[in-house]
Every structure is written in structure tokens, then in C-alpha cells.
């Protein structure tokens, strides 16, 4: 028996020596005002010369950007790389580290991209709306799943003389446990808000810890807390070839909210009291000029705005979406069915809570 205590002590010692240096309890982030945080990323224009495997660009607040980019000897490639910086294009150009360090590759040129439009030029209404809070994804196994694993372990131990039986029980336990864990709890959460103010529109995406930047037009990224350390990973889409632009994923620490904003044109999407040419809305709310909210229930595509639901007078929308504007302007708020249009095209969203809203200040005739 002493031997087994020795083993257990040894293992605990190993785990203690290797354990994390600190942990943080995940907490839901509070709703934030879009205008409260400055842009965290700015784009760097770099020209790389092979041979190299990857590049790494240090940013502010212990942040960095990394991109795996195999280049053959002598091959040149020009790229735009998002870098975490508050000073925008006014600060010093960071050193682009080429990996491997002594592999012969180099960065021939690096400079800030000029002419990036600041959010200061946006209509005030688009900048000051509160964005909803999102929960930090730190899913854990429920008590039911833990009990299932425990029972499976006991069953395995009782069958220890029949190894095939242990494997069969283990497979069953793995299947059941995975199914229960998949069904339970919340996963990665992301909220998309189509923000309208009169005739001006923007798209705001709020995510907990992890956000994929849409390719093409640069987005304005802010964070809660505003000085969160960020890591940006770049990857080329499969089958995109050598000319494809990398997709960038921003990752923050536990409890961090990432908020991406970009100007947006709704194009043919129309939302009027007499016509819904936008999408199926699962629930919608309307605030009149008197400040009273009214719940209108679901609003199917192609139909006029339904009448208020029974008892819908005075029913306010979820707090994180309530713009809390002074009286006088009408506000429409609708939640799209299925949380559509959450990610850049073709990307799969991990299972989790998906919400997509339309919020239009100045709705109606």
C-alpha cells in the first residue's frame, strides 16, 4: 500500500510542478458602449522573401500576430497583416520576425497602411449604441456527465479481468458522455447586430474570446477590457492557392469580449412597417416616440409588421439590446431566426449560442 501512496504523491508532485501559474474564473462580460474603446488593430503592409515558414509580429500589451506562410527560396510575397497597436499608423513599425530565424528568409519591407478610415468619421448614432454582453465560453462537464464517467469507470474496474469488456464499456461511456456534453451548456457565443441610424448602417459582431475577422475590408476592433492581450492567427483557406488572402482569427484571454465593427450597406434588404424584405424575425419589438416598448412577436419574411401580441404593451427587449435613447425617436429591434450571417462566408461556426439582431433607430415612416 505504501508503494501506491508513493506513486500518488509522485504524480501529484509532477502535476503541481507542471500546473498552470494561475486561473481566472470566467465571468459574463457587461454590455459595453461601442464608442468606449479605441481601435486595437492596424494593418501592416509587409513584403516577405523566402525561404521561410512563418512570420510573427509583436504588438502592444504582450500581443502578437502569427501567420504560417511557407515560401520557397527567393519567392516574394506581399501581404497585409493586422497588428495590435493603439497608436495606429502613427507609431513605430514593429519588427517582423521571420521564422526560422536563421533560415535565410527576410522581410524586405514593412510599413503601416495609410488611409484607414477612423470611426470618428462615422455618424455618432452608430458609435454610441451599447453592444450586448456575451458569456465567456469555458464549458465544463455537468454533474450528470461526471456521474456518467464515474459510473463508467466503476463498471470498467469491475470488468478488469475482461479487457475487451472494459473497452466496450469505455466506448459506450465515451459515446454517452460526449453526447451529453454536446447537448448541454453553452459554447462559443457570438452576436451580430445590424445597426441602423437613419440611413447609415454598420455591422457589429461581438464575441467572447475568439473572433474571425472577415476578409477584405478592415474592421474596427475594440475589446473589453480595453487593454486585453490579443493573439492574431492567420491561416490560408483550403484550396485558395498562393494568391489567396489569409483569414485572421483574434483570440483574447478568458472573460474578454471582442467587438468588430464595419460600415455596411444593406443593399436590397428592406424593413418597413408594411413590408419585411430582410429575413424571418423570431421576435421583434418597437419603441414609439413616447418611449414605450411593444412586443410584436414574430415577423415572417414578406409580410407586414404584425400587430402587438396580447399583453405586449410595455414589454421591453433584452437589456443588452435596449439603446436607452431619449424620447422622440422610434426604435425597431428584431432577432433573426437561426442567427444567420454570423460568420464570414463558408466558415463553420462551432455549436453554441447564435444571435443575430437588427436594431434600427429611426424606423418607420
Amino acid at each position: 500500500m505504501r508503494k501506491h501512496f508513493l506513486r500518488a504523491g509522485l504524480v501529484l508532485w509532477i502535476l503541481g510542478a507542471w500546473g498552470p501559474t494561475g486561473t481566472t474564473a470566467p465571468q459574463p462580460t457587461a454590455p459595453a458602449t461601442q464608442d468606449a474603446g479605441a481601435d486595437r488593430i492596424h494593418t501592416l503592409d509587409v513584403e516577405l522573401v523566402g525561404p521561410l515558414e512563418a512570420i510573427r509580429v509583436p504588438g502592444e500589451v504582450a500581443s502578437w500576430t502569427e501567420l504560417t506562410l511557407p515560401l520557397a527560396p527567393g519567392e516574394r510575397r506581399r501581404l497585409r497583416v493586422p497588428v495590435v497597436t493603439r497608436s495606429g499608423g502613427a507609431g513605430a513599425v514593429p519588427e517582423v520576425q521571420v521564422l526560422p530565424k536563421d533560415g535565410g528568409g527576410s522581410c524586405a519591407q514593412a510599413r503601416w497602411v495609410e488611409g484607414q478610415v477612423s470611426r470618428d468619421s462615422w455618424p455618432v448614432g452608430l458609435r454610441i449604441r451599447p453592444v450586448p454582453g456575451v458569456e465567456s465560453p469555458s464549458p465544463r462537464a455537468s454533474l450528470g456527465v461526471l456521474t456518467l464517467i464515474l459510473l463508467g469507470g466503476i463498471a470498467c474496474l469491475s470488468l478488469r479481468r475482461r479487457p475487451i469488456g472494459v473497452v466496450v464499456v469505455g466506448l459506450i461511456g465515451a459515446g454517452l458522455g460526449a453526447e451529453r456534453a454536446w447537448q448541454g451548456g453553452r459554447g462559443t457565443e457570438e452576436v451580430l447586430v445590424h445597426e441602423g441610424d437613419g440611413g447609415a448602417w454598420s455591422r457589429v459582431r461581438v464575441a467572447s474570446r475568439r473572433l474571425e475577422l472577415a476578409p477584405g475590408e478592415p474592421a474596427h476592433l475594440s475589446t473589453r477590457p480595453p487593454d486585453a492581450s490579443l493573439r492574431i492567427h492567420g491561416a490560408f483557406p483550403a484550396g485558395g492557392g498562393a494568391v489567396a488572402e489569409p483569414h485572421w482569427t483574434v483570440v483574447g484571454p478568458v472573460g474578454c469580449s471582442l467587438i468588430s465593427q464595419r460600415r455596411w450597406d444593406p443593399g436590397p434588404l428592406v424593413l418597413e412597417p408594411g413590408r419585411n424584405a430582410w429575413g424571418d424575425l423570431e421576435e421583434c419589438f418597437l419603441r414609439g416616440g413616447d418611449g414605450q416598448w411593444t412586443a410584436h412577436g414574430s415577423w415572417p419574411l414578406g409580410s407586414p409588421l404584425p400587430a402587438p401580441v396580447e399583453g405586449g404593451q410595455g414589454v421591453a427587449p433584452p437589456g443588452g439590446m435596449n439603446p436607452a435613447l431619449p424620447l422622440g425617436r422610434s426604435v425597431f429591434l428584431g432577432r433573426l431566426r437561426g442567427g444567420s450571417e454570423l460568420r464570414p462566408e463558408g466558415d463553420e461556426l462551432p455549436r453554441g449560442d447564435r444571435r443575430s439582431w437588427v436594431r434600427w433607430v429611426g424606423f418607420g415612416p
Binding site: 502535476l15 465544463r140 464517467i149 474496474l157 473497452v167 458522455g177 462559443t188 493573439r231 478568458v254 462551432p350
Partner: protein, 256 residues
């Protein structure tokens, strides 16, 4: 002191239990035989219980749950025996005809560890997936951890049951060196002292980075979904696989 349990071992001989009130190794010859055959039960039970903590705790640094469960299992599954169960006469002073041969013990421990490790690893993989890790990454890392666990458990059981004491010694030495030893040495020289004060040379970092425990520890500290582990051929843990293979090879020349 020992009595037949009425059950039959893998070679068809009746299994014997230890004395009343004793569990596992350390008893008289019959008990030792059982203990040697089922050493994986002790390691697996402890790993399972610690795995429950890793999966169920709310306080978490955002690291990969798969990495946490993998770290526990890889630390425990192949842990060499603290003493020689048979070296003090289990085989020679016992019934003299082992009821399970070494390779069968290895297979038994490997299958047993596989069955025990499957549920917590599957749940950890799902939790990581929900936290943002890609499916390919989850499968690649999870299956690698499972494979290493099975191989290390089998190697540990084979070494426990080895005919030659040298096999046990070699297995223990390689396990200590390649799994916790080199990474701890690097930590002591580089991180615990002021970084850069000690010239490590190329050997210690190179070898310690390939330790399976270093690999899974990096995964443990890496928040799920950061894409730290590339999916595909080049992202497979070849270095750790080589080290696990060496530990297994240490038991290969036993005649049992």
C-alpha cells in the same frame, strides 16, 4: 493465504486472489500476481478521479480540457512501478508458472487503460470543440493522447511483469528521462533560474520539447481554439511519438 477466485486468466489458468483485506500488489505470491497484472487499475483509477476534477471545475484558466485530461493520463498511465513486484521473488518464489505472460499483461493493461481513458477524453474533446477548437484539431490531439496512453500503459505493465530486472530498470530510467525528466531539467535550468543565465545548448531544449508531457502541457496551457496545433501530417506529434516508442522498446527484449 491465497485462494482461487473461480475465474480464469488469459492463459486459461485459474486466477488467484490476495489475502482477505488486501488489495493489489504487496501481498503474498498470489496477491502479487494479481497486483502485477492489474497495476493499470490503480493508475487508471487515480487518473479517472483527477480527470473528473479537470472536467468539472468551473475555475479554469481557459486552457484546453483535452490537454488537462491528457496531462493526467500521460503522467499516470505509464508510471513505472515504485518497487519491483516480482523482482523480490514473485516469479521465482511464487508458483513459478506465471498465469499471464508479459506481452499479455501489456495488452491487458493497454486495453484496460483504453477503456478507462475513453470517456473522459471524449468529454474533454467535446468541451474543447465547444470552446472553439476545430474538429480536425480535436480529433488529432485526442487520438494522439489516447494512443500514447495505451502504449505507455502497456509498456509499464510489461516492465512490471518483466523477467529481467534490467528491463524494469531501463523502462523506469527511460520513462523518467524522456517524460518528466528532461522538461523538468529545462525548467530548472532555464525558467526557475533567470532565463538566459544558463547556457542550455541545443540538446536539452530539443529533447525536452519532444517529451509527450511537454507536448500535452503546451496544449493544456493553450486556450482552446487558438489554432496552436496545426491539423494535418505536419501537425502530428512525431517527436512525442518517438519518445513513447523508445519507452515501449525498452520492454521489447524481455522474454516473457
Amino acid at each position: 493465504m491465497s485462494a482461487s477466485t473461480g475465474e480464469v486468466g488469459l492463459d486459461g489458468r485459474p486466477l488467484e486472489s490476495g489475502p482477505r483485506g488486501t488489495l493489489g500488489p504487496g501481498g503474498p505470491p498470489g496477491g502479487r500476481e494479481s497486483g502485477a497484472a492489474y497495476g493499470w487499475v490503480w493508475r487508471g483509477s487515480l487518473a479517472s478521479l483527477l480527470g473528473l476534477l479537470a472536467l468539472g471545475t468551473e475555475v479554469w484558466g481557459g486552457g484546453s480540457r483535452l490537454g488537462a485530461v491528457g496531462l493526467i493520463w500521460l503522467s499516470l498511465a505509464g508510471l513505472p512501478s515504485a518497487g519491483s513486484v516480482l523482482g523480490r521473488g514473485g516469479r521465482s518464489a511464487g508458483n513459478g508458472s506465471p498465469f499471464i505472460r508479459g506481452h499479455r499483461v501489456g495488452s491487458m493493461a493497454a486495453l484496460g487503460s483504453l477503456g478507462l481513458a475513453l470517456p473522459p477524453l471524449a468529454v474533454a474533446a467535446i468541451l474543447d470543440r465547444k470552446a472553439g477548437m476545430a474538429w480536425g484539431e480535436v480529433l488529432q490531439q485526442g487520438l494522439s493522447i489516447l494512443l500514447f496512453t495505451v502504449v505507455l500503459a502497456g509498456a509499464a505493465a510489461r516492465a512490471e511483469r518483466a523477467w529481467h530486472g534490467g528491463v524494469r530498470g531501463l523502462h523506469a530510467a527511460l520513462w523518467w528521462l524522456l517524460l518528466p525528466g528532461l522538461p523538468l531539467l529545462r525548467f530548472a535550468l532555464d525558467d526557475a533560474a533567470r532565463p538566459g543565465r544558463v547556457a542550455l545548448g541545443p540538446v536539452v531544449p530539443w529533447t525536452s520539447e519532444r517529451s509527450p508531457l511537454s507536448w500535452v502541457h503546451r496544449m493544456f496551457l493553450q486556450p482552446a481554439g487558438e489554432g496552436a496545433f496545426e491539423f494535418g501530417w505536419s501537425g502530428l506529434p512525431w517527436g512525442p511519438a518517438a519518445w513513447v516508442g523508445l519507452v515501449l522498446l525498452a520492454t521489447a527484449w524481455d522474454r516473457g
